[in-house]
Symmetry: C2
Subunit: 200 residues, 2 copies
Amino acid sequence: MYGEPKRDRKTERRERTREEILDAAWEIARAEGLAGLTLRDVAQRVGMRAPSLYSYFASKHAIYDAMFAQGWRRLLEGYGEMPLTGHPLADLKSMTRYFLEFSTADPARFQLMNQRTIPGFEPSPESYALAVKCLDLARERLAALGLDDERTLDLLTAINAGLASQQIANDPGGDRWTRLADEAMEMFLAHVKNRRTSDE
Amino acid sequence: MYGEPKRDRKTERRERTREEILDAAWEIARAEGLAGLTLRDVAQRVGMRAPSLYSYFASKHAIYDAMFAQGWRRLLEGYGEMPLTGHPLADLKSMTRYFLEFSTADPARFQLMNQRTIPGFEPSPESYALAVKCLDLARERLAALGLDDERTLDLLTAINAGLASQQIANDPGGDRWTRLADEAMEMFLAHVKNRRTSDE
DNA sequence: TCGGTTCTCCGTACATAGTTAGGAGTTTCG
DNA sequence: CGAAACTCCTAACTATGTACGGAGAACCGA
C-alpha cells in the first residue's frame, strides 16, 4: 500500500508534461493556424526534440485529438457555469453569444472542433463523446425552454455555426455579428413558437 | 499582323494545359481532401513531374487561388442561370437549395471557398473580387424581393453557410438538411417581413 | 544496497512535401 | 539557319511526420 504514492508522482509528472505539450500546441495553433502546427515547434517550446513527444502522444493526430477533447470539455464547462434566467429569449441569446465568443476567440480551435479539415484526422470515440455530450446539454436546455424536437436543435446549431464561421471569416473582433446573433435568436424563437402553435 | 495566329496557338495550348492541371487538382482534392492535394500527384495525373507545374503556376497556392476563382465563377454562373419566379419564399428556397447542393457536392471546394483553413493562403484580389461579385448578385436578388439592407444579407449568408457546413460535417448525402433549409427560409422570410412592418 | 526494468529524452535517419537551379529538347520567329 | 522562348526533365535543398536504437535516470523487488 505504500508503493502507490511513488507511482502517482511519476504519472503525475507525466500528466503535467502532457499538459505542457498541449498548452504549447494551443499557442502555436493560435499563432500559426491549425495546419501550421509543427511537432518540432511544439517540442522546442517545451524544451525537447520532436521525436521525444512520442513518449507522450502516439502521433500528431493524437495531439489534435487531445486538443479536440479539451476544446469540447471547455465549452461544456462554460455552458455548465452559465447563469440562466428561464426566459427563453434571454437564455437563447446568452448561449449563442457565449458560443460566438468562444468560437471567435480561437479560430483554430473552432476549426478543429467543428470542421473536418485535417486530412486523415478523425476524433477518437472518447473525444467525440464529449462533443455529443455538449450537444446533449444544448438539447436539454432547449427542452427546458419547451423546445424539444430534433429539428429545432439542428436549426439552432446550424445558425450558430454559420454565425461563428462568418464572423471568423469576415470580421474577427467586430461586434457586428454579436448583434446579428441577437437578432437571429429573436427570429429563431418567434419561428419555433409559431411552428408550435400551428402544429397543435 | 500574320504573326498572331501562331502566338495564339501557343497560348491556347498553354491555357488548355492549365485547365488540365486544374481538373486534375479538383479530382484529387475531391478524393483526398483539400489539404491532401499534392503537387506530385497532380503532376502524375497530367503526365508530368512536379517541378514542371511551375511552368504554369507560380506555386501551390497559385493553384489553390485558381481553384478558388473557378469555384466562385461556377457558383455565380449557377445563380445566374437559375430560373426565378418572383415569389420571395420560392426564390429564397431555390437559391438556398442550390447553394446547399453546390456546397455539399464538393466539400473540398466549399472549404476552399468559404473557410480560411490553408495556412498562408489568401485569395488574390482578382479572385476575391469574384466572391464579392457573387455576394453582390445575392444582394441584388434580395433587393428585388424587397429585402435590401445589409443586415438581412449577413443573416442569410450566415444561415446558408451554417446549413452547408453542418450538412457536410454530419450528414453528407442525406436530405435532412435540405428540408431544414426550406424551413429556415420560411423562418427567415417571416422574420424579415415582420421586421419590415415594425420598422416603418 | 544492488541488478533489472521502465521511462525519458536524444541523435540519426527515412519518406514525403514544396520548391529551386540548371540543362536538354522542341517550337517559334526573324 | 540561328537566336529566343518555352516546356519538361533530373538533381537537390529544406521542412515535415515518424521509426529506430541507445544513454541515462528513476523505480522496484530482493
